[in-house]
Symmetry: C3
Subunit: 127 residues, 3 copies
């Protein structure tokens, strides 16, 4: 099968490396897997970009050691993604820092982090 | 429990107060409660910021007087959040202005409002 | 019923035509219908704007010929919306170009397209 037939193939224009903040606040493990796939595709496509994943609310499940997708999350960190969890969520759900996958950062408010990154010029993606 | 052990704690950098538009178009009352929690955290963390919540589609349930979270919505308005409902949605769902929680504003198109705020430099958050 | 009673009606300020990229990655046909409604409202409200819909992941169902909302998708294209599907998703789900509704474009990575449009100054909407 060739992808060129039947639909116009558009080349993506080369751009300067971007800084991207990705928002995850859903609890469904399938959504977690899908967001981690998005991160891999971003790294592959936009080389030298800076990528940060912010999790809060039910999304925090994606960065816990008992996540079914913990291996992919560790791989994202190894690939250079910064992963940030919300301490407001941790307090509300009684999650101890030791439950987080090693290398996950924390900030006081995940949603404020998403605002601040954008005021610093980062691009926002909410899968 | 101390949040400092087991994960790197990052201080959020102080930023100038931001203008933030928050997008709600889902009908699930749990999502409404969660978005209202996000608004409280934004107010607490980013003092002196300007925050607007735009609801349309099934999200409009969050600003009706019979919403299970009407009290939190009123509190958000009291705290200074501007709340804006979509008149296209009101027409489609036959919702009268009197059904809205007092203090809720309306615009012709909620989705166009979200575009316009961003063209005015506002930051976009879609929980 | 007059919408002017019971809630403050705010006129939307006129703005220069915007360039808007709309993100769809959910598989629920009701969500597809709702996003297509959003596109119609954007076209009606923000005349002369440039609108692009990017679909990836389960959202790609919205641009397949067998979509229950294929007619509305065709109408969106006719109205001037550019529709872009993700080839990473097509490869993963084994979707051939011939299955796409005619006029749908493809790019290698839908999520990278969403980043690139924003770095080009486009406004991002994720219904």
């Amino acid at each position: 099968m060739t992808l060129a037939e039947g639909s116009p193939v558009r080349e993506q224009t080369a751009t300067a490396p971007a800084s991207v903040v990705v928002h995850l606040d859903e609890g469904d493990p399938d959504k977690h897997a899908s967001v981690l796939r998005n991160l891999r595709n971003l790294h592959a496509e936009l080389t030298d970009s800076t990528i940060e994943l912010v999790v809060h609310g039910p999304g925090i499940g994606a960065v816990l050691q008992n996540s079914p997708h913990a291996a992919e999350l560790r791989a994202a960190i190894t690939a250079g993604t910064t992963v940030v969890a919300c301490r407001n969520t941790m307090r509300a759900l009684d999650i101890a820092p030791g439950q987080l996958i090693p290398g996950v950062h924390t900030v006081n408010s995940g949603v404020a982090e998403l605002v601040q990154r954008q005021t610093q010029g980062w691009v926002y993606i909410r899968p």
